[in-house]
Symmetry: C2
Subunit: 229 residues, 2 copies
């Protein structure tokens, strides 16, 4: 979310312009809906919160809610979605001399670090991100929707990697395989974070991510008779 305020919409110079009252109001009610949904979900659970509640908390009709979000899930996952977009953006900017795996690792760490610095508190903060991930993890329908989103992100990662290394993902399986592996290891780290003892700030999460990635080699290697590092 760090570099996100200027949302380029159409023309190149139009980029920084004030997007007009209508557009601003739209963004405003959307934010308000996400915010309200967030609070209600965390306060009383996902299932026990009705869309009507969210809508009337922002003073719009239920129908309007569904014009902003395809379903209740989407409102809950909106925050995560922004973070994921930022990760993709980071990946685009990695130097070409990094290996694909290095680029992925560096991007995800940069993303967490920036997001952590950017918003130390308030909605979208790291602490509320943790709460949100906990909510997702033990709300089956939310978890399902989230996993689907993640796999869609993976497709984008495949494209970016293939482009970066100049090869065709339909010919060469490496981008697909690496994106899949990356995503799953990341998710394992996420799980540890939510399940674990002391949920430290972003640095704690970063440490967890690195730990998990460092086990990639050992996990794939032969037997496990010797203890891991």
């Amino acid at each position: 979310m760090a570099a996100h305020t200027p949302r380029p919409t159409a023309a190149p110079e139009d980029a920084g312009r004030t997007p007009g009252l209508r557009e601003r109001k739209k963004q405003q009610t959307r934010d308000a809906l996400v915010q309200a949904a967030h609070e209600l979900f965390l306060g009383q659970g996902f299932a026990r919160t009705t869309v009507d509640e969210i809508a009337s908390a922002v003073d719009v009709s239920q129908r309007t809610f569904f014009r902003y979000f395809a379903n209740k899930d989407e409102a809950a996952l909106a925050v995560m979605a922004e973070a994921e977009d930022y990760f993709i953006e980071c990946l685009h900017h990695r130097p070409a001399d990094e290996t694909p795996l290095q680029a992925l690792r560096a991007s995800i760490i940069k993303a967490w670090r920036d997001l952590g610095n950017d918003k130390a508190s308030g909605p979208g903060s790291i602490t509320s991100a943790l709460e949100l991930m906990r909510l997702i993890e033990d709300t089956p329908t939310l978890l399902a929707a989230h996993l689907r989103r993640v796999t869609e992100q993976e497709r984008i990662v495949v494209r970016v990697l293939a482009e970066r290394e100049g090869l065709d993902p339909r010919e060469d399986l490496r981008p697909t395989v690496l994106a899949a592996v990356f995503g799953s290891v990341l998710r394992a780290a996420h799980l540890s974070w939510t399940a674990d003892r002391e949920p430290e700030g972003p640095e704690g999460m970063i440490a967890l991510i690195e730990q998990h990635f460092d086990q990639l080699g050992p996990a794939l290697a032969g037997h496990w008779r010797t203890p891991a590092t």
Copy 2:
């Protein structure tokens, strides 16, 4: 009717016995529901099939449907679930001298091969499995539910691997990481299968799985400047 055939109901050796009329009928209507759901979903799509349709195709009430399945998704994914259970069973029986990764690869291949031989046609056959996977892949809500199921299976895999190698998954990250990697590579192979050109039988799928696993090393290794094998 058969008032007194020897029908011990609680004894341990009862395991293989005919499970009683009630139990048999239950299994029967459950199978019929899965079957009907399967046909309707493939015929007219998941969203355009109502639960009422499925129920009345088997001549039971809608309420009964929901006593067998928690939701519409579950009926669609029931076939997959059986296959996944069989995979876990295979994993349990792998010899101890295989490395964890080898055991996983061997189990999934055995599972596909056995299921392929077992049911050459009809419901639950390989061809209808392919159709089902296509349906899942382009039905967002089904895909989401399926992914959630897969991650639950992964947890079991973690347990089995940890037990097999005699270590504690909370201390040692390798089981978790390997299970995650395995699951994601498998899913990549599944995607190729559904998206791909010639959907050959189970052997085609097995070949695809092996291709993907063989790219694990190359994908994680340094740069990709040299073409993959």
